[in-house]
Amino acid sequence: MAAKTILDKLAVLSDAAKYDASCASSGSEKRKAGKTTGIGSTQGMGICHAYAPDGRCISLLKILLTNFCVFDCAYCVNRSSSNVERARFTPEEVVRLTLDFYKRNYIEGLFLSSGIIRDSDYTMEQLVRVAALLREEHDFRGYIHLKAIPGASDDLIDAAGRYADRLSVNVELPTDESVERFAPEKKPAVIRQAMGALRTRIEANEDLKKAKAKVRRFAPAGQSTQMIVGADDTTDATILERSANLYGSYQLKRVYFSAFSPIPDASSALPLLKPPMMREHRLYQADWLMRFYGFDRKEIVDGAPGGMLDLTVDPKLAWALSTRDRFPVDINRADRETLLRVPGLGVKSVDRLIASRRWTTLRLADLGRIVKSLDAVRPFVVAADWHPGSALDRLDLKAKLAPSPEQLSLF
């Protein structure tokens, strides 16, 4: 068998990496390139350099160092029992690819993960080596996201956080029972301990800042995690409870939901279905309502039959339709908290609306200039020249407001 070229390896190891939802390059410290060496910059806001036809942002070179893996997680394309093609990059090859792509402005940086080879420490050491080469040999100043391997030693995690902007440990599935069922070699408590250890180090950054120490901060873009949705039978209510607990416990920048997607050479333990993408979308919306709109989890899931969110309308609209007595809301008088609960009004629109109404009385047309869709808002608000009348009581209001079913996938 002929040795694999870089192109062959790249094909295998990017295919193997695509089930990690995150491609974010945001939230780090600000950096600029050096004068003679040291390409790269970060500016807080990430950049998506391309979009794939799955609608996902391509911001980083997201690859595995190797897709050989000693674990046999049923949902994973790289599990040891799969017959997918295997490959392994050398650290130097990853460095070369990263720099070549970066110089051509294809990417913001590198997101490097790996199958578990030998043990946690050996795997983590390999990842750290790539980051060390990039930062120290090449003075690379772009974004680096590394996977933190649960169970890896403290020294390796310290080094990883010194080089990387972001670290992540995936909780994989929403409950411990599911992790044990589908990822028998993974220990949920060890995963959480790894996240706890990252949180402790990330919080120590604040002390560094106070002391104005000239030490590089540990993972300045924080940590994130991901859970697969739809591989097991966990309800949305439980998933949202889980994500709220994770946000509270580990200072996470993001909890990603990843709709369980068909993979090549799947395990018979986990039959493939088309990925529940609308469900994934609704979970993100619900998560957003809890984090930025002042909603309590119970308000969102209490009206959800069987603990599952309504797929036909977004969770804010679903809540509004089930609490119609709280509407209409007067856009010239209502407080911020109340306005944030109006379907079709986002945080920005609400802030603009509040700033504007200090100087003028708002009419419906005024509102129309700062919202995406006036049709979505109209039934729920009162303006100087508008009252929805009995529209709110109409039984077909939901049908009128629900988006026409969109073709989300082709089969």
């Binding site: 600029k32 390409i39 046999d72 051509r104 416990s249 799947a266 088309k274 700033a355």
Partner: protein
């Protein structure tokens, strides 16, 4: 009708000069025509020049926020942009707060233009694709780009800050941006043909693009919303899009329909190795307490394990005479995996030391071994364990007592005592008493150190802390008696 001729498309200085003059003369917006470049076709139109300078011009004040807004709007490709800005400027005389009214038609139009400028700049940062050209002095990087608006000057500093050590040129139909590692220069625009058509790295990039795409998640609209087709012709990867879309359905359906395969030999080798390792582990000797601790790490006797990080088991010498039992681990203990290391642990340590007790010689544990909390945004609020949880966890506490065989147990707070005595108790009634628990084992009751942390009044806190230390001093006396 006054006609203003601006030097070029983004001539902000020229606009400012003319606008101030016109506003000072109170020329109505409807009487001004804004043009860019030399007069060409409309020589016959009756151009009226700018009126002469007057003193009022110097007095003209605009809201601070107007300048950055105008600087952005000037870069927009709409021919109406200067008229819009001048109209807003004249309205400031009667509506000084105008910019704060986002719902105003002029303001919202200007803000929309500003937003499209921001977006266009962002897309230029995202979609410029350099091609490497080898030269005698090293690699040079060249890109061709077609922005929607006149944004090259606004977008350029980003490339300087990112690629400072590289020599690069970005060519657009209007401008050439040239960086020689020292200065940023702007020259006349060019044509697509001026940029080399090949770079071998593009094959690697296309391979990456094709393979990072998940055909089971096809969502073309989401892609085109963020990467509109107008940009595609300058993106090397975009040529693959039609075939990726066309093949997606078949590939996804193929994955679902495929029959399961037999695992490769590699898998079987690993599983055999794992089996050997597990057997080897089973052979290792562990003292009893260590084995119980290991069992407890996987405890699911109550639902608290699901959200806590880990089981926080007791620690201390197995031969300890004294055992301290608290309520449950807190936020810090949950992360670290050790009892009494958080704020309450600090209070405990200080008080114990003051009372003359050596913590290292005591066994310290909790009635409940998982942290019970309620998430509040980015924090966790402590929640008291209920009877069922205390009951479920007594299993472990009982094992610890059996193995350590202490002669004195100090119950810190109601939960600890409830677990030890197997009934709900009032700490106020039991505090300070030595209770014969069973033969050779005494239980002493006091408060939990977190009680001291919760007291809002400093004086009260001082008194209660002194009481707590007094309690511990009695424990210290008892320890001395036991040793005698």
């Amino acid at each position: 009708m006054v006609t203003v001729r601006l030097a070029h498309e983004t001539d902000f200085a020229g606009f400012r000069h003319a606008a101030r003059r016109l506003a000072a003369h109170a020329v109505p917006p409807a009487d001004v025509v804004w043009r860019v470049g030399e007069a060409a076709g409309d020589l016959l139109s009756a151009d009226e020049p700018l009126p002469p300078p007057i003193a009022a011009e110097r007095e003209l004040r605009v809201p601070r926020l107007f300048v950055p807004l105008a600087e952005a709007v000037v870069c927009h490709s709409s021919p109406d942009r200067f008229a819009l800005l001048y109209r807003i400027l004249t309205r400031f005389f009667v509506e000084p707060r105008l910019l704060q009214i986002a719902t105003d038609p002029d303001v919202s139009a200007a803000r929309r233009m500003e937003k499209s400028i921001g977006r266009d700049v962002h897309k230029m940062h995202a979609f410029v694709r350099f091609r490497a050209v080898p030269t005698d002095e090293g690699e040079r990087f060249v890109a061709w780009f077609e922005p929607e608006h006149f944004i090259e000057e606004r977008a350029a500093p980003f490339f300087r800050d990112r690629f400072a050590p590289m020599h690069w040129t970005i060519l657009t139909p209007r401008v050439a941006i040239v960086w020689d590692t020292e200065t940023l220069a702007f020259g006349p625009g060019g044509r697509r043909e001026d940029v080399p058509g090949e770079d071998a790295t593009e094959d690697l990039w296309r391979t990456y693009y094709a393979n990072i795409f998940n055909p089971a998640r096809l969502k073309v609209k989401a892609m085109t919303a963020e990467m509109p087709k107008k940009y595609w012709r300058n993106l090397p990867e975009a040529a693959l899009i039609p075939s990726l879309i066309a093949g997606a359905e078949r590939r996804a359906a193929g994955m679902i329909a495929a029959a399961p395969t037999l695992p490769p030999a590699y898998h079987d080798r690993i599983r055999i190795r794992d089996g050997e390792r597990i057997e080897a582990m089973a052979d290792t000797e562990a003292t009893d307490l260590d084995r119980v601790r290991e069992e407890a790490a996987g405890c699911r006797r109550c639902p608290l394990y699901a959200n806590a990080t880990q089981t926080v088991f007791g620690e201390g010498p197995q031969a300890a005479d004294v055992m301290f039992v608290g309520e449950q681990p807190g936020d810090r203990e949950d992360l670290v995996g050790r009892p009494f290391v958080g704020p309450a642990g600090q209070v405990f340590d200080e008080a114990v030391t003051e009372a003359g007790i050596d913590r290292a010689r005591c066994y310290v544990t909790n009635a409940v071994k998982h942290f019970k909390f309620e998430p509040r945004g980015k924090r966790r609020l402590h929640k008291k364990p209920n009877g069922g949880e205390i009951e479920a966890c007594r299993w472990w506490l009982a094992k610890e007592i059996t193995l350590v065989q202490p002669r004195l147990i100090v119950g810190l707070g109601g939960t600890a005592l409830q677990s030890l005595l197997d009934r709900p108790v009032k700490i106020t009634e039991m505090r300070g008493q030595f209770l014969e628990f069973r033969d050779g084992l005494t239980v002493f009751a006091t408060v939990h150190p977190s009680f001291l942390l919760r007291l809002p009044d400093p004086e009260m806190k001082r008194l209660e802390r002194a009481r707590f230390v007094d309690d511990l001093k009695r424990v210290a006396e008892r320890i001395a008696e036991m040793a005698a």
